[in-house]
Amino acid sequence: MKRLLQGVVTIWFIATSTFVAMHNVPGNPLLDEKAVSPEIRRNLEARYGLDRPVFPDQYLTYMRNILRGDFGISFTQRNRRVNDILREHFPVSAILGILAIVFAGFGGILFGSLTAVYRNRLPDVVIMVLVVVGISVPGFVFAALAQLGIVGLNEVLGWTVLPVAGWGTLRHLIIPSLVLGLGTMAFLTRLMRSSMLDVLGADYIRTARSKGLPPTRIFFRHQLANASLPVLTVLGPAIAAITTGGFVVELIFAIPGLGRYFVEAVQQLDYTVIMGTTVFYGTFLVVMVLVVDLAYALVDPRVRLE
């Protein structure tokens, strides 16, 4: 319950600060080069209270609309409401993000366990070098390299194994989600390695061995289950990282996700789209962090609060 309240306050803060920021950006949505007929202008002014003071009237209108789930109409795209943009393009970003998270989570746990089990031996050294690369090189570099690689691969084989960019089939998804999840996976691998090393030396692992359990059972039931807990806690922030990383990846791979619209909206000063997507993403992240917390309490009996 307390968490829920915190979440609501966070969302309110995001909405308010976006509002304030938008009003401090130089320019005026109705006073630029584009000709807006006086009638449209009057309608818009009336609808958003633009002819009245910013505070409290405009602010309250804005908040009221958000509470109703209405983010308004796009300023640059003809006849499109922000809600439509969200509805059409968010699922694309979500699928990409979920795949990236799944990939990062499984990869991180797998490689992290490997490095811990083969500590200071070849697999550990190789993977840890790759992890440093994965953490320090930004995602768009990998994206470009991946595209180059695909082009080369397709050329060598003479047929299109994987598409370079675009959207539509499962094959379009693979490379972008891999690229998107890579940085997070590297980070999770490092985390998993240290937590697995802790667990490997734990007393209860000795107990499990003393019971004569087969090594695979010890690994899955005792080591993996406990070592994965720290990974789960950072999954919330990891989702945030992947979401923001998605903006760039969507642009590079020409994926019609929400991130691309957000970037375009900022470039074109499309006020309602910027505010709408920001508040929507903010809410989404708050909800995801909450979900991760709940999931953690479900897995670790020691964290069964409230």
């Binding site: 734990a202 007393d203 209860y204 000795r206 107990t207 499990a208 061995r209 003393s210 019971k211 004569g212 359990l213 087969p214 059972r217 039931r221 005792h222 289950a225 406990n226 807990l229 897995v299 670790d300 009996p301 020691r302």
Partner: protein, 332 residues
């Protein structure tokens, strides 16, 4: 009677950054069916390593068994990384010093006790769980059904040690190795746990190997005692031999350092001065030489052998050599 577990000339070393630690040096020990053998000694004397290496529970590397032979019911055991694998859980159960950290924090107690039954006895999860409840009951836990559904963090140390015992005896092992089972518990609980172990031993005819540093515990439950010092057994025999007729100066020193309901209330406890030798470079002679009030010139450079004093009572000291002057140790 044939020994259940027999350890002959076992040596264990560890590679560390500081060099090679000679943790166990030439230890021989046997445990017979139905008896309680106590292995006593101070921290770092190698008592725990002895049994964990035989059971394959020390990490290898850095640990390594360099010499020795171990037999179980007369059959020679493999002493490598997988030492004791076929015996663990079925023939030999183990409990450890710190019950708080010895149980998996994210698994229910019942599931943890049921695990060996599922693995070794092929029981279904349901059967194994109901047997886990009866095992908890045997370990004298009140409300065993509730306990089985709880997680380790919800129980006290004493309860957890009972749960550990229930887990260790799940498959009715012939031997229970209890490694400092009461050290982390408070005194009243210690006594309960020892009673429980004694009771289980009687009912199931288990052999118990008790590894401890607590002479009081030894006197209470053991049939035979082995005293370890600096990686070696310095004296072993029946409880009466070792407590009433101690032969090795170290054992004598330990007894003098023990608080007792003394006849003489003014008696001070006599600590043993000094510290144990560095096991990176074990001394050439007797390990106890530096601290021994009875040390002789021969002790410095020549390691003493185990000398048999009476049937089953041995001591590793030059004082028992035929050439040594006849002295009474009690005045030491």
């Amino acid at each position: 009677m044939n020994a259940l577990l027999s350890i002959e000339n076992l040596s264990v070393e560890f590679d560390t950054h500081g060099g090679v630690v000679h943790a166990v040096r030439d230890v021989s020990l046997a445990a017979y069916p139905g008896e309680t053998v106590a292995v006593v000694g101070e921290s770092g004397c190698g008592k725990t390593v002895t049994f964990q290496s035989v059971m394959g529970l020390i990490p290898m590397p850095p640990g390594r068994i360099t010499a020795g032979e171990v037999t179980w019911r007369g059959d020679r055991m493999h002493l490598g990384r997988s030492a004791g694998r076929d015996l663990r859980g079925t023939e030999i159960g183990m409990i450890f010093q710190d019950p708080m950290s010895s149980l998996n924090p994210t698994m229910r107690i019942g599931d943890q006790i049921a695990e060996p039954l599922q693995v070794h006895r092929g029981k279904s999860r349901r059967q194994a769980l109901s047997q886990a409840v009866s095992l908890l009951d045997q370990a004298r836990i009140h409300a065993p059904e509730r306990c089985a559904k709880q997680y380790p963090f919800e129980l006290s140390g004493g309860m957890l040690q009972r749960a550990m015992i229930a887990m260790a005896i799940a498959c009715e092992p012939a031997m229970l190795i209890a490694d400092e089972p009461t050290t982390a518990l408070d005194v009243t609980i210690q006594s309960d746990i020892l009673d429980l172990l004694a009771d289980l031993q009687q009912r199931k005819g288990m052999t118990i190997v008790l590894v401890t540093h607590d002479l009081g515990v030894v006197a209470r439950v053991a049939d035979r005692v082995a005293v370890m010092y600096a990686g070696q057994i310095v004296e072993s025999g029946t409880v009466d031999d070792v407590f009433y007729r101690p032969a090795h100066p170290y054992t004598v020193g330990l007894k003098a350092a023990l608080p007792a309901r003394s006849i003489d209330p003014g008696r001070d406890l006599e600590p043993i001065a000094g510290t144990p030798p560095d096991l990176f470079a074990p001394p050439a002679g007797c390990g106890y030489f530096m601290r021994c009030p009875r040390a002789m010139r021969v002790c410095e450079g020549h390691p003493p052998d185990l000398v048999s004093l009476e049937a089953g009572h041995v001591s590793r000291c030059w004082l028992h050599h035929d050439y040594a002057a006849d002295v009474s140790l009690d005045q030491a």
